[in-house]
């Protein structure tokens, strides 16, 4: 999809690795940063981000745009994001298909939407508004979810497809989230991959999860498991190679170990795309 070149393989920039990455010691092609961690006035976070940006392509990945909330879009947040984007010139900007606040309050989580026509119209209008405000297309990511709303009238992939077409946005396909949600809701993850429009996929996410017995939890605290690697291989066969990002938010290993796991994604993608 235009505007989302295949940057290769990257990792999420996290505080334990700030110093090493700022000095160029991450053996990856690009970095993704959590937008909100850098929407500060100054100090170390912004200094690190500027240094990282001098050495690598950077993608801004947000968790608080709250695209699905019935609250008004947070204009101050969008102003801050636009200012950060002007300074950093990210390769692109992404956020999630979710809502994370209600009544002016923030839940600091990625809450699921009912997949209804009303929700679709609502989210599509907000994605369009955000894209207009930022002057660029964004990528919208599928989340891990733990419940299904009884009044949903379509599948998650049908909703994502309709959203991408209506709002003319791209999709960030989180392969681990597909796997987690498939297990939690009992659907076939291959059906999800078949269902999303391949040309709209601009990026993949890979991560680990935890098995709680009754459900899988998207914890980003383990290496990517074999099942998710297999699903990633399937995804690349369908879409071709796309920029791929390894996420790790807890039990963060050394930078070398993390980069080695990310490079495995490059090998898997090359093999799958061949």
């Amino acid at each position: 999809m235009e505007g989302f070149p295949n940057l290769g393989t990257g990792i999420g920039l996290r505080p334990p690795h700030y110093a090493d990455v700022a000095e160029g010691r991450a053996a990856v092609d690009w970095l993704e940063v959590i937008t909100e961690n850098f929407m500060v006035e100054g100090g170390n976070p912004r200094r690190v981000l500027r240094a990282v940006r001098e050495r690598y392509p950077v993608v801004l990945h947000g968790v608080s745009m709250s695209l699905g909330s019935v609250d008004p879009l947070d204009e101050r947040y969008l102003d801050g994001l636009a200012a950060l984007a002007r300074e950093i010139e990210p390769a692109w900007i992404s956020d999630h298909l979710c809502w994370s606040g209600f009544g002016g309050h923030s839940g600091h989580d990625l809450w699921p939407l009912p997949y209804t026509e009303e929700a679709l119209r609502h989210v599509a209008a907000r994605v369009s508004r955000v894209q207009e405000r930022l002057g660029r297309r964004i990528l919208v990511e599928n989340v891990s979810s733990y419940l299904t709303f009884r009044h949903s009238t379509m599948t998650e992939w049908e909703f994502l497809t309709a959203l991408a077409e209506t709002a003319d946005c791209g999709l960030l396909l989180d392969v681990n989230n597909v796997f987690v949600s498939a297990r939690n809701h009992g659907f076939d993850p291959s059906a999800f991959l078949d269902g999303v429009p391949r040309g709209r996929v601009g990026q993949f996410h890979l991560a680990g999860h935890s098995d709680k017995g009754t459900h899988l939890l998207d914890t980003h605290d383990h290496p990517v498991c074999d099942d998710v690697w297999a699903l990633y291989r399937e995804a690349v066969r369908r879409t071709g190679a796309r920029a791929t990002l390894l996420e790790r938010d807890d039990h963060i290993p050394s930078l070398d170990e993390l980069c080695a796991e990310a490079r495995r994604a490059a090998d898997v993608a090359a093999e799958a795309a061949a």
Binding site: G43, N44, F102, S106, G107, D109, W111, T148, H215
Partner: protein
């Protein structure tokens, strides 16, 4: 079911003081509302599925607050801190997009919480921990250097106007909090009652704090003002209790200290 009704019901249940199972157990209407909204199955009921989100909401914020205010949490102990966070999230629901702001109102909340009766200094300890976080992400500035100040001709020094760098906080404490902060755990003696002005600031990526001495304490609020304060006024104020020459020497000493600490900028 409308999207706004779905989100209102979901938000109300997931952020309630009690978990969804407890609410559903005592309120059949609430259980029916959950089951009307969410599909359950043999592995997880509708209530259990909402509780996954309720647990994540609380734990995520609790853990961030514990990480950001480790000394406050240690002074309270795990169970009491859990209780404080529970009360806090009901009284002061997060409203900022950044999780780092979730604890912004916790120090003020602690001052009014029942746990403050036995530990009246706890809110000040929390305020110091919070201030250190805030200045870490505060705006950058070019502090006045000693070398640059030495280059100013003596006759022009009186007209120099200084102010504090933007990444600072002034805290008026009723207790001597610094030793408790340094001890870093709950086992030390409680801080003694001793009113003090404390300054917290950032130099590059390092955050510092210290109590102001008697000469500088009255000046720090004036230096915090955007207009800053004149060196000549500092000399004059010190001159009220010191001979002129000693007052000027003391004023130079204070400015040299602030410059060495990278605490001040020169106002044009």
């Amino acid at each position: 079911m409308k999207l706004s009704d779905t989100q209102a019901r979901f938000y109300g249940l997931v952020t309630a003081r009690d978990d969804v199972a407890a609410i559903a157990a005592r309120d059949p209407e609430a259980r029916a509302a959950v089951e009307e909204m969410v599909i359950g199955d043999a592995r997880l009921s509708a209530v259990d599925r909402l509780d996954v989100y309720a647990a994540m909401y609380f734990v995520r914020i609790h853990d961030v607050l514990m990480e950001e205010l480790p000394r406050t949490a240690a002074a309270l102990g795990g169970e009491a801190f859990h209780g404080v966070v529970t009360d806090y999230l009901q009284a002061c629901r997060p409203s900022h997009p950044s999780l780092r702001e979730a604890g912004a109102r916790l120090p003020a909340f602690l001052a009014t919480h029942p746990c403050a009766v036995e530990r009246p200094w706890l809110a000040e300890l929390a305020r110091l921990e919070r201030a250190r976080l805030e200045v870490f992400d505060g705006p950058d500035a070019a502090p006045a250097s000693i070398a640059a100040l030495r280059a100013v001709p003596p006759e022009r020094f009186g007209a120099l106007r200084f102010r504090l760098i933007p990444s600072h906080r002034l805290l008026d404490n009723r207790f001597a909090i610094a030793p408790t902060w340094r001890a870093g755990d709950a086992n030390g003696a409680p801080p003694r009652a001793a009113p003090e002005t404390m300054i917290v600031w950032r130099r590059d990526s390092a955050v510092f704090h210290r109590a102001a001495d008697a000469d500088e304490a009255p000046w720090l609020p004036r230096l915090a003002d955007a207009r800053g304060a004149l060196f000549a006024d500092l000399c004059a104020a010190l001159g009220e209790k010191l001979p002129d020459e000693a007052a000027a020497a003391r004023a130079f000493e204070l400015v040299a200290r602030w410059a060495a600490e990278e605490l001040i900028v020169v106002v044009d």
